[in-house]
């Protein structure tokens, strides 16, 4: 296991310390917890947004705490949902009187722990609503399954909902636009290498020198199947085909997110972006905005996911609003 760490059981604690030291102008640590909140939290009179989940997805989610995005991010152990208590601390710390929206990625653990926290906060009279992001089309969504996972599309939900909250909308309105974003976003990912959970010390799956894993999530879990490595063009086609098959994007305007999983260099992400733009154009899908970078990672995994968010005028406006966080700035 080649990692620049001190103690494999203390990576989350030490990372959070380093993160807060890096961005004191944006975030502060909630003492005695793994929660980071906006420096000016709680922001009075504004709906507050909380997200979080297991660690190992950096800059998600602490990197998106700040103006126009999240008010707080709750970090669990690597790939492990935080406990209800931690989430509850976050909710209490950011509530500015207008209620708190929880943005949860659709994983059993996250959903259960965040819901338990919401119940705890409601007992104290805090208004809490939740939305569950489920953008990953690699996973079938049916009554027999737990539904699609939440992956990189979550970032776009943070941006949209964060802008709405910053504009002063009330809790149900913020929830409405967040749900609209969720309804409109789809993602699909692939990887070339596994990752190593520090405390486990072993690669999350085995893969051949000439193989890639298609349709995997962001927790080092294997994907739906393995294939021989293909070109950037073929890979992008595979990912976008699945997305476009799942939801109608044709003739629509979209935001594209080409997301690196942590170990893939920006050079390759840009090459994927080139292919994505070509394919979208060929399909009559108009790109309104593009994001390329490491937004929702899976430790050092090499790979990429693509997300499309269908836009209407309201979503475009919210997407264009100012944001100022460690990892997402828009002037």
């Amino acid at each position: 296991m080649k990692k620049i760490i001190n103690d494999r059981d203390r990576v989350v604690e030490e990372m959070l310390q380093g993160m807060v030291k890096a961005h004191p102008e944006f975030i502060k640590r909630l003492e005695g917890s793994n929660v980071v909140v906006r420096k000016d939290a709680p922001v009075k009179g504004k709906v507050a947004l909380i997200s979080g989940g297991g660690s190992g997805h950096e800059p998600s989610h602490g990197g998106f705490v700040g103006l126009g995005m999240l008010d707080g991010a709750v970090a669990g152990e690597v790939f492990t949902s935080p406990t209800p208590e931690e989430v509850y601390k976050g909710i209490k710390a950011v509530d500015g009187g207008k209620g708190v929206l929880l943005i949860i990625k659709n994983y059993t653990g996250d959903v259960m722990n965040f819901e338990m926290a919401a119940e705890m906060a409601e007992l104290e009279g805090i208004k809490v609503e939740k939305v569950i992001v489920n953008d990953d089309v690699a996973v079938e969504d049916s009554t027999y399954t737990v539904g699609r996972r939440g992956i990189a599309g979550t970032i776009l939900v943070h941006k949209i909902a964060g802008a709405a909250a910053e504009r002063g909308l009330d809790l149900l309105e913020v929830k409405r636009v967040a749900e609209k974003a969720i309804e409109n976003v789809r993602s699909m990912g692939m990887s070339l290498t596994p990752c190593i959970v520090p405390a486990a010390g072993k690669p999350s799956f085995e893969i051949g020198e000439d193989e890639m894993e298609i349709g995997l999530g962001i927790h080092g879990e294997p994907g739906t199947h393995k294939e021989k490595i293909k070109t950037a063009r073929e890979i992008t086609t595979i990912l976008l085909d699945r997305i476009i098959r799942d939801k109608r994007f044709v003739n629509e305007e979209v935001a594209v997110l080409v997301n690196g999983l942590g170990g893939t260099p920006l050079m390759e992400l840009y090459i994927v972006n080139r292919e994505a733009h070509k394919i979208l154009e060929d399909n009559g899908i108009k790109v309104y905005k593009t994001l390329v970078g490491n937004y929702m990672t899976s430790l050092e995994m090499a790979g990429v996911s693509i997300s499309l968010l269908k836009l209407d005028e309201e979503l475009k406006g919210l997407l264009d609003d100012r944001a100022n966080t460690p990892a997402f700035k828009q002037i």
Binding site: V146, V197, S204
Partner: protein, 210 residues
Amino acid sequence: MASTSLLLEIVRNMSKNIIENKELLTELDRAIGDSDHGINMAKGFSAVHEKLGEMEGKDWGYILKTIAMTLISTVGGASGPLYGTAFLRAAKVVEGKGKIDRKDVINMFHEAIEGIKMRGKSDQGDKTMLDALIPAFETLKSAYEEGEDSKIAFKRAEESALKGVEYTKTIIARKGRASYLGERSIGHQDPGATSSYILIKSINQVLEKN
């Protein structure tokens, strides 16, 4: 009639066994999950182990509730709230009791399973901990109904739990992270079913010694 000192011995043994099987559980989760089940469970049961002193002399309900809250507030992931809810629901059945009888055991076990089903929106056949727990519970119940004592009843329950674990190898996961693998989850045993089996075995080991 089972005393709380027996319970504490069982809890101590559960902690020991879970911690000893940390690698195994993580390795199983590596195959079809996210490589953390052993880490999660060991973290939770280490915390439980540290509370043993504090539990001394308390009633069954208090002890089980303490375990539940400890698991909920330290584990995270899916297994934290699931096992936490199970212990919490079991605690409710035996609130304030210093000693419990077989009926209590059956009720506790039943409530624990119902708690997991409710929290996890899951059932037998989904390739989860329930696939160890439900057969174990049913075997236990019929053994009691057949008039067997707890030693024998739990011995049989352990065997059923193990069969349940084996059974999870043959089915597709429909709940939890393993469900994302679809067909690929076949052939692997479920980590949560395995930890449930270890917990039941831990009860059995203590009963056999006493």
